[in-house]
Amino acid sequence: MTDRPPVPKRKKPLGYASVLGLCVIFGLLVGGASGFINDMGGAIADPLRAILLTITVVFVLAISLIWWRGADEAVREAHKWAWYWGGSVGIAAGMVVFALLSWDSRLIALPPLEPADAVMIGMTLILGLQVVGYTVAWAIWWLRRR
């Protein structure tokens, strides 16, 4: 028997390339708008930045939702597993850095920072560690099922 199995009609899901393409286009638009707002300056700049940020967050959530609905169950399972284990290990790694900074400042010496900069560095560090953990865990999930 060589016939192919019947393929039910389904809406074609949004693939990785489409998601990346849309994000790149949107990123360019937001980057351009952000530069325009910075050049413009004045009292109106801050509300415009807030509006732009809101639009960006809504876009990211919408594109994520559309992609998630098109993903099959194994793809979702890989991401859920990566979210839990990769994200948790990333936070745990961040806690180690936090402990080293708290217990003995000689272990990790930071230059004097403004409070806003310290908060930004801390958030970026945790986010970065979570992204690394997520990526590694996602790759492990698929490599174990090859």
Binding site: M1, T2, P5, E73
Partner: protein, 62 residues
């Protein structure tokens, strides 16, 4: 859980991509199912049974 997906697919001379399209999943998911390292949800197991025209228990076993 063990399954006979690879055998059933080979009997029909279907590629993993053919089966993936019929099930509405990615080829990587079909591969993960065939290696036995990923157990499908009940709805996907029913879809697999439907595509092969066999009961679930004839395809999956403990």
């Amino acid at each position: 859980m063990n399954n006979r997906l690879k055998v059933l697919r080979a009997e029909r001379n279907w590629s993993q991509a053919d089966l993936a399209a019929a099930l509405g999943v990615s080829r990587q998911t079909v591969n993960a199912l065939e290696t036995g390292r990923y157990d499908p949800s009940l709805p996907l197991a029913f879809r697999i049974a439907h595509v092969f025209g066999q009961p679930i228990e004839a395809i999956f076993s403990e």
